[in-house]
Subunit: 322 residues, 4 copies
């Protein structure tokens, strides 16, 4: 059994992490540190966790309880993990950060297992990718080496849980309902992460990224349009995706009328991809759960890899359609 | 033309008031005073008002602009209108308050036109009823005098716009979506208003009131179950409702399979009622728009009555199904 | 391992049954007979089942594969199971029917385990209760023997999955969205089942039942108002509920501000109850998943009881908030 | 007053046409012919029309009532108008077709007023554009003549009312809710209309078109990405849009953080556009109501143009946020 501490436990991604780990056969959820909700039952804060016995622990609890060999998952706000996680590592822990703090930092492994498994296995700090970058990277990375790319359009649609649980006018039910809202047209905080991830694999074309909030709670659909300089061979494109994901436990390749579906991935760590090519444009549609493969699910996948457990342990859930 | 000032202009009910009055042929929207959004375009605050030219005015604007004979509509928070409206009256204005400040106050007319038209016509201060009390009163008041009532159950379902636009965790899209949430089980702030309105017409049975938030933006459905001491005559019940509302411009009586429908009332000042009786229980289902007949629509209806305009002026909208 | 056959596999309750049983450690899903979708992958029909290998089998498959000791779960339309299940029993199978065919039939056990466990354990045919009757019975049955009841009001709100997957105008997204729709005001097909279940435990007061469709996919909230002839003792009421459900694995009693929540029960076999009493009225709010405790979850609970497995086997899921 | 007949009156676009025309001061709604709902009240079929007196007329009614100078609006299924409308024209009527029957037909005027006003004014048959082509054309046509275009990506998100009111599994609430569903990846029926409309103005680059259904009833957002061969001048792009729409009553140009919003256009004939350019890619975001500017609103705008009425007559509605 591995002792796992969740630090910054009161947001949606933390709740999903707790939900998954509460059933993990090799994990003992040791502390759930929360500055804002210390002392409360997890189930009073998230009714979906009512059938769990956990309570939120006071600030400082992780350090009090931490032993060498433990794992710390940081699910707090950006900025908070910068000094905290290195201290945990200094005390013998291994760590996974759900914030953006380490994603552009060479001292951490980038936690996208399908493309970076070996580094994750060896890392003390894993930077869990953002939800948009996860979907974009899964969709585009197989095209590395297929030819010169002129431009990449990423049109993304995200459930509103991605905006977090801190109250804001623009995430109120009355504002989100009935709208499809583009945002960050002048530049989105996830764009550098997307560009760096592509660039590291040799894809350095300019990216036009348009995120939208849609009136769903969970789930993300990313349509990526990769415009090559010259026509591409559709069979070669298909082969590249099979090569990349044919053996993956979590990425499903679909074709024809079988299109990616959010009810098919929400509540799981799965990703679904549909690829087609015409002339010089490759279109990839990718569906993930922004809190699953885009956050908590991928964190647990990373944890399994770090600890040498089967990669899908406790991640074999069937979705609940709704 | 009547000059109308809206005081406290940044909430949903204010926006709906502005939307309706912007098309009122006898009204000039003079000031839209807003403490929090002074100087902004109304359409930047509410995108649904983008095709209007109005701006929010600074605190103090109403008093600066006020002339004798003007109308002031107060759409601010409870408490704010207690001293402000009497001052407006002292300067020669007539006033309508959308908050609860004057609803239990004998110095104001209770603005439920179908039951109180004469007082409204003569009043300097009209207390616009709450949305729950409006629907409950329309549903139950026709039963006054039909016999001794043992108990009244009011089971209400409200769109989330009724909770206002101030950000709260429990009105976030991710919290409201997929839930039907009872609240105020220990006592709701609207219950005294409901009881007083019924009591003034001779209905003083105990009321059990259960409000729920449902995942819709606008609209309210109230199911009222009036349990009499003895069996009631269904024909007499039906006659009482026809007598009460047969000549109403806004209340539609439905029967059989034609049930009240929110898409049929949202965006309008209409109410729909379905009544049936079995043995000693009368069940009334009432649908209104919580921001229409439950707030802004009724305020404009009251304004029309106060000023001697046709009661339905600018209130003849067809709904937009959505 | 028990071989289980699902007969009539193409509706929502069947899909949920398949989802749950696919993880049941003592069950082998042997045939999934479907008249309408024979030969298709389950995951092509329900994208939420894409990560399962199952296919729908042709008509007649259950009889071809049936062996003595198997279990047959019938999830077809009302009427279809009347002759089919007795034939299965004649061949040595034990059966659970999700339709209404056997619910008023003394030859079958009524599958409400919290009130009927012994009969279920011994039965060859278990009539799985309807979703409304399940919630109503859980809410009201503990009050048997507490005094003479004058009338019972049941105001129910159901997700639209309860209406099934056969296309109809009134279950289209564009019709359900934004509405709270009462139906069956002239009499609902579940009312006799509710009345009989109450009556068998000595509660024979008249029932006023108002079901509503709300714009959610899964989940059901039932508000029951039990009007006694005389004031009731609130402590005695509370004790009755603790006696009834204190040891239950699935029924949670809540109090105060902790109200039943659909996100807390959807995807599970749980029920949540909140009870309060004032004078002569007891109000009970009950939340279940109409496809969980109201259909598939309860069917698996019944299966576990019939076969002597732990009652919660494969029913320990945490909900996915969404 | 112009007598207007609606032929094929039972779908969503017909309902919206009726709603708008019921308030048009120069129009008398003469017949509402419906094969499927003849004899019913419009308000029984669409509860949102309950406060209108209209009934659906029997098949043949338009021909019985038609006089020279009347207008016929055909809102039936594709195929039905091919012979019917020319017969109406032969009898002296002028016609507007909401189906696709005449959109690729040179005998009809293409009813996109912002780009084709003169032809519409003179036409006997106006082919009202599809919703996707309307948004795409408004977004892209101003770029004609700005340089050589390499490829155009159109990523569109539509409310489900665009799929019509005929019941289908994939438009049920339980299927649409929680999903963002791409469809027609192998080719959508609107693509030829889009390509022809662009081509007629000199834009003949290959188009990649991805429509999606999102869980909203009304509204459409189209993101168009126009990839030029060479970098474009952002100021020139902006000027082109101002030139095209600066004087338009219905098209609003937005910039910076003011992004197109569905609540801002639903229920109106408005369109909102946001344009930005970086290097060789121009991104245009366009919001319309698929039943407004994308169907019924534009039909009424065309009717006003054909009859010489002010173009915005009866089209000045403020939206209802919801």
């Amino acid at each position: 059994m591995t002792r796992v501490h969740v630090w910054g436990s009161s947001g949606y991604a933390a709740a999903e992490t707790i939900r998954i780990l509460s059933r993990h056969p090799e994990v003992e959820l040791t502390t759930l540190e929360s500055r804002s909700h210390a002392g409360q039952n997890a189930g009073d804060h998230f009714t979906a966790l009512r059938n769990l016995p956990h309570r939120f622990d006071a600030p400082g609890s992780v350090f009090e309880q931490l032993r060498s060999g433990d794992v710390v998952i940081a699910a707090g706000n950006a900025g908070d993990a910068r000094t905290f996680l290195p201290e945990c590592v200094a005390r013998g822990a291994r760590t996974i950060d759900l914030s953006s703090d380490f994603r552009l930092d060479a001292s951490a492994a980038y936690g996208l297992p399908e493309w970076n498994r070996a580094s994750i296995a060896a890392a003390d700090i894993v930077a869990n990718p953002g939800c948009y970058p996860t979907a974009a990277a899964l969709a585009i990375l197989p095209l590395a080496g297929m030819g010169s790319i002129r431009t990449i359009v990423i049109d993304a649609k995200s459930g509103v849980s991605g905006a977090g649980r801190t109250p804001r006018v623009d995430t109120l039910f009355a504002e989100v309902s009935g709208d499809v809202r583009p945002y960050g047209l002048g530049g989105h905080r996830h764009q550098p992460e997307i560009e760096r991830t592509l660039c590291e694999r040799g894809i350095d074309a300019p990216v036009v990224f348009t995120p939208h909030v849609v009136p769903i709670v969970r789930g993300m659909l990313v349509d990526a349009y990769v415009v090559f300089e010259r026509p591409v061979d559709a069979d070669a494109v298909e082969s590249a995706f099979v090569r990349a994901y044919g053996a993956s436990a979590f990425v499903r390749l679909l074709s024809g009328d079988r299109v990616p579906s959010l009810p098919s991935v929400v509540g799981t760590n799965d990703a679904e991809l549909h690829v087609d090519a015409r002339d010089s444009v490759v279109r990839i549609v990718c569906a993930i759960d922004n809190l699953g493969k885009g956050a908590a699910g991928q964190a647990v996948q990373n944890l399994n890899i770090m600890l040498g457990y089967p990669e899908a342990l406790s991640l074999d859930a069937r979705t609940v359609f709704c």
